[in-house]
Amino acid sequence: MHLNNVGSLWLRRYAVFVACCTFGLVIAGGLVTSNDAALSVPDWPLSWGRLVPTWEGGIRYEFAHRVAAMLVGLLTVGLAVWIHWQAKACPTTAVGHALACQSERSSDSGGTRLAWAAVVVVLLQAGLGGVAVRFVTPAWATIAHASMAQLFFAIMVAICVGLYAGFGGSWAAPTLICTVALFAQTVLGAGVRYGVIAAVAHIAGAVLATILVMWAGLSILMQHMDNPKLRRAAMLLLSIAFSQVFLGIGALMARVAYADAPQPMPMMVLFTVAHVAVGSLAVGAAVALAMLARPDAFQVHGGMVTA
């Protein structure tokens, strides 16, 4: 069975489930940083010398994040194995089917590569998390860890969309640039969160990213207004991006308002974590739009409907 065959319905559902769990993991990571709990578990891979530490204070956030990361890692390996197995199975009972199978193989191999790339990234993430704990949160490791989380989520979204619309083909320039700009914004945001760069760089990046999102979203809308899938994807990206701007303003205002607070305040935590989470959704929406807007997305092969 091919990845885009209706018989892979459960694979698609599983991929969406893993992507949702990944989103949850991004939120868990945001809670760790916003609650200043990153080093509440001073050892790695054990937690306070045990498999399960005492559930208190900042330890709750850090340990929950580690458990979620482990689960997502296992789910990702499962996804990669499933995709790999599905892509290898190819019906050759008829010439027509064999030809369709061959043309699908390049797309499926792209999906397989992406799935194994996700495994590599999630393992790197685990390593970076360990480095952050073992070496007392060096800035480069924490920023890389935060950025890699966004990249991993983007890969999961790409896998989900690819299982519906295929993995082959190239991205249009506006959507590609928009995706890169949004990812760069998440890196800048991580730099601000860890005190390496000033907020003004992230704010300037937000202006540029918003312009690029509007360029990509509106160009897709103008060219494909009659295509409901693309129309919805473009509207979704625009909505998320604008929400992110307001969340960013809220996060900044919360930080300023509670700058002198003796401990992380709930409103500050809420806004900053929401901003991180919606940031990952923005990157994911950009990836989804870029993949859906490819010329050969949802192609029909050999009589088999792949959408």
Binding site: A38, L39, G57, W116, G127, G130, V136, D260
Partner: protein
């Protein structure tokens, strides 16, 4: 090729997991070394100069926030009936400022090296608060970190010129001994399990420092005759400096005043 990459990444992570271990951070070595042909000096309290003073506070008293310890029942129980307020600014009853670090910033003879005091300095975690909030140390001077709490703590100083470290301390665990090798005023200390916990450590290369207490005063004894820059540092209100000249067996008063 793919399998090789995956194997390399897994091997890297396994190596990372096993390296370092759970050994405590290496205790920094003292930078106090005897000058060639000489001995380490100690404050001459009998013949030296003395600088005393107080750190006053004027203006509107800031309202300190009540700490939310609900995330840790043990901490909440320790303050049952009397919720703990933030100790970022503590104004004494006589209108002076507590927890201000005072030190001789400059003016000491350049050719003198000072012996590390053997006085025991302790930082206790009690009621999920650091006690005392501010301590002074000489470079290379050991200080003890202990816990009196029935809950886990991690001790995470955030120096900029000294090596960073983060240690755990479970209830009943034996005190640990640490020191800082380089002068640094001030090093914030925090606990990531209890994010409201804060302490500050002033590390200087000589023994002429003090921390204001409940009466807001400070005394620095045994100074060689000379002209000194005295600096006070408060965690919220920052530094202030004054210059004072003191002779042998002379006592001078230098008062500081922070405005709220």
């Amino acid at each position: 090729m793919k399998k090789t990459w995956i194997a390399a990444v897994v091997a890297g992570i396994v190596t990372l997991a096993s390296c370092g271990g759970d050994k405590p951070a290496e205790t920094a070595k003292s930078e106090a070394t005897a000058p060639a042909g000489g001995v380490l000096s100690t404050p001459d309290e009998a013949n030296g100069g003395t600088i005393t003073g107080k750190v006053a506070f004027t203006g509107e008293k800031p309202k300190m926030a009540t700490l939310d310890m609900s995330a840790n029942p043990a901490c909440e129980r320790a303050h049952k009936g009397a919720p703990q307020k933030s100790e970022e600014v503590v104004i004494n009853e006589n209108g002076t400022l507590k927890n201000t670090f005072v030190w001789v910033k400059s003016g000491l003879p350049a050719d003198k090296q000072w012996a590390v005091p053997t006085t025991q300095v302790s930082l206790d975690q009690n009621g999920c608060m650091y006690k005392p909030r501010v301590i002074g140390l000489m470079t290379g001077q050991n200080f003890e970190i202990k816990t009196s709490d029935p809950t886990n703590h991690n001790i995470h100083p955030q120096p900029t010129v000294n090596p960073d470290w983060n240690e755990s301390q479970s209830p009943g665990q034996a005190p640990m001994t640490k020191s800082f090798a380089r002068q640094e005023v001030m090093i914030p200390v925090k606990c990531n399990v209890h994010p409201w916990m804060r302490a500050y450590i002033g590390v200087v290369g000589h023994p002429f420092f003090a921390v204001t207490g409940d009466d807001g005063t400070f005394t620095i004894k045994g100074l060689p005759p000379g002209t000194y820059v005295i600096q006070t540092v408060h965690e919220k209100y920052g530094p202030m400096e004054q210059t004072v000249t003191v002779g042998a067996k002379e006592s001078k008063t230098v008062d500081f005043s922070y405005k709220g």
